[in-house]
């Protein structure tokens, strides 16, 4: 069982996550760009194995009807994206940068590649999906542009 710890820049919010998927998703939709300040690197972790310290510092916004984004109210660190439409069982899509040890992670795929700015790109031969490709594989889950 892979257990990993992480937290925000100021340390007010800390978490432990079990069964973390070491293959993370990169999202280039404009919502993710604005929230993280660039690409979103999202690490999936099941809700069942997720524990949080400093929950009182977690701020959240319903960024659409289906999902929320959270951050630390003290330092502003991007915390996670979560599909609220899936209820309490929804995976946490944790920002990669929060993990204390980032060794062993690799890119699974990039999504919304058609809205990625030409200004930067990530190396590798992983899968790259357009918004339409991604919506076809997981209907309804991504929020998309705003």
């Amino acid at each position: 069982m892979t257990e990993r710890t992480g937290g925000c820049l100021c340390g007010a919010v800390r978490f432990t996550a079990r069964d973390v998927n070491p293959r993370f998703s990169v999202c280039h939709c404009k919502m993710c760009q604005r929230v993280s300040g660039g690409p979103l690197f999202a690490v999936s972790a099941p809700a069942a194995g997720f524990t949080l310290e400093g929950a009182e510092h977690v701020r959240r916004i319903a960024s659409s009807d289906i999902a929320e984004r959270t951050w630390c109210g003290k330092c502003g660190s991007t915390l996670w994206y979560r599909v609220t439409a899936e209820g309490d069982a929804a995976d946490y899509e944790l920002a990669l940068g929060l993990f204390d040890d980032t060794a062993g992670f690799e890119i699974k795929h990039e999504i919304f590649i058609d809205t990625k700015p030409a200004a930067y790109a990530l190396s590798g031969d992983h899968t790259r999906l357009t918004e339409a490709d991604y919506r076809a594989t997981r209907a309804g889950t991504p929020e998309g542009d705003a």
Partner: protein, 142 residues
């Protein structure tokens, strides 16, 4: 002088940055990776080049010489700003908050190994590891 506009996800904070720079900086130091959740890709300029046209960012003092700005209503990562020394006021605006990144590209990267090789920014730009960054700037981060 080119004027670019940007803002957070919810639109509470809006800004303009006046700059003819086309190079973006990339930073994967531990502070930037924790704050952004990925890495800081930014268009930087002196403080006077940046004007907040709506709202006021929340500020977190991340060290004795720097602070980080974010939107208190939606959490969007907005900037890294130097607060001490000869570069005081210099601000690196998170590129993802720009309305358009047209004409911009990554020109240099520091702390390139800060996420243990989980990703590599493509291109032949100047790329310094954490050790190389510290040796060159004898400081940095924050």
């Amino acid at each position: 002088m080119t004027e670019r506009t940007g803002g957070c996800l919810c639109g509470a904070v809006r800004y303009t940055i006046r700059s003819d720079k086309t190079d973006l900086g990339g930073c994967s130091c531990e502070q930037c990776r924790r704050h952004t959740g990925s890495l800081l890709v930014s268009l930087d300029g002196p403080g006077k080049a940046i004007t907040f046209t709506a709202g006021e960012p929340a500020i977190y003092t991340s060290s004795g010489w720097a602070e980080r700005g974010f939107c208190r209503d939606c959490g969007s990562t907005l900037f890294y700003r130097v607060t001490a020394g000869s570069m005081a006021g210099h601000t690196a605006m998170a590129a993802g908050t720009l309305d358009s990144l047209e004409g911009l590209s990554v020109g240099n990267e520091v702390f390139s190994d800060g996420t243990g090789g989980a990703y590599v920014l493509a291109g032949d730009h100047e790329r310094l590891t954490g050790a190389e960054t510290m040796a060159k700037y004898s400081g940095g981060g924050g």
